[in-house]
Amino acid sequence: MRPRRGLSHGHVGSLRAPDAAMALRNARDLYTRRQEGVSIWVVPATAITASSPDEKDAFFDPAADKVYRHPTFYEVPDGVQHL
């Protein structure tokens, strides 16, 4: 669901429907009764491949020891502006 023009779509919930067109209408009825959004995407749950939170450590391990990807890793000499 895109809450307002300009913002990204974010996940709001799941529902049952026989096909994509019905899913879109059901999503409208179920999740936007108070005008929560301006646009909806629906995706069949079977089309989603998700990583498991149990594997979080191993899965995200490649980024764990790379503090140098953050600007705060670098020493900025005293008095430099706009860096």
């Binding site: 140098y68 000499p77 706009h82």
Partner: protein
């Protein structure tokens, strides 16, 4: 325009503005075109399914694709130094930086695809020379200090160019730019740190740093494009809020930021006429050679042929990976 928290503060302000505008009510906008104009006037975002003028779509495709190609080709000058970085720390940092640039290219190809072109088409246009990339990546990286100069000046100029794009009227492009600008900050700092270290090292190291700054200064100024008087696409892009400032305005902003940063480095900028103009409250400076810019853009820079040959080779040599991935997916699909 840059407050104390600098460029990142600007990016956050753009994100904030995007949220504010999203909450605003639209007035007017009866027909398709009127509605399009009303959205832009309210500083809201045009989204992929919205009606938009054909030329707006074409302008964006050209600009976003060129931007994506620049990120991808831009990996080459620095990639040249990954295996020869002076320490494991510098090597890990440079790898991370080049990896980020690949990521930026992918965000941007994805943003372009929302306009109805495919990534394959765009890549093909790059390989056939029908779409361009930034002139800056056609200059060679001769010494390790060049990696520092690129981070400081080239990424620095890119940030000055890109921060206003965080407020671009096309939603997917603006959101990609917010993400990219946040990541760019480390690129500029690591370059600055390399130069600072060299400039405070031996005489030889300092000379190497100065030489790199001398060579990269004018090509970096040229990154902002031709002077306003000769800029062909500007006026319409400004009206559509794709572009927010003119080439010359952004170039001036970049010069004004660099002077003080160069002083702290203990290095000089190679311009004898660079001086503060009290009346304009800005620095007077020497313009880059725009004939050289034209030559480099039209394919005749120091490294154009090498860059394109490398990209074509990498694309051809990667064909088996793409084919294998597609074959595997097909096989899995048949089983499920």
């Amino acid at each position: 325009m840059y407050g104390n928290d600098g460029l990142l503060g600007e990016v956050e302000a753009a994100e904030e503005a995007l949220r504010d505008a999203a909450g605003r009510r639209l007035s007017g906008g009866e027909g398709l075109e009127e509605y399009f104009i009303a959205v832009i006037e309210a500083d809201q975002k045009i989204e992929p399914r919205d009606w938009m003028p054909d030329s707006y779509r074409k302008t964006l495709i050209r600009q976003i694709a060129q931007h994506a190609h620049s990120e991808i080709i831009g990996m080459q000058p620095e990639g040249n130094w990954i295996s020869r970085a002076p320490s494991l720390k510098r090597k890990a940092i440079l790898l991370a930086k080049v990896q980020d640039e690949a990521g930026h290219g992918l965000y941007l190809y994805a943003a372009a695809e929302t306009l109805g072109v495919s990534r394959d088409e765009l890549v093909q246009m790059l390989l056939e020379g029908r779409q361009k990339y930034s002139s800056i990546f056609n200059y060679p990286t001769l010494t390790w200090a060049d990696v520092g100069a690129i981070g400081w000046l080239v990424d620095g100029a890119a940030i000055v160019n890109q921060v206003p794009l965080c407020r671009c009227s096309y939603g997917p492009y603006a959101r990609a730019m917010i993400r990219i600008c946040k990541e760019e900050s480390f690129h500029q700092r690591q370059g600055y740190e390399i130069l600072h270290t060299l400039a405070h090292g031996t005489d030889g190291q300092k000379a190497m740093a100065q030489d790199a700054v001398n060579r990269w200064w004018y090509p970096s100024l040229a990154m902002f494009g031709p002077p306003d008087a000769d800029s062909t696409h500007s006026a319409q892009s400004m009206a559509w809020k794709i572009k927010r400032f003119s080439n010359d305005e952004l170039r001036q902003r970049f010069v004004d930021m660099c002077v003080q940063q160069a002083e702290v480095l203990g290095l000089t900028l190679p311009d004898a006429d660079l001086r503060w103009n009290e009346e304009r409250k800005a620095y007077d400076y020497t313009q880059p050679d725009y004939d050289e810019l034209k030559r480099v853009i039209s394919g005749d820079g120091p490294c154009n042929r090498q860059r394109m040959a490398h990209r074509r080779r990498a694309h051809a040599e990667g064909a088996w990976v793409r084919e294998a991935a597609a074959a595997y997916a097909k096989k899995r699909h048949a089983i499920v």
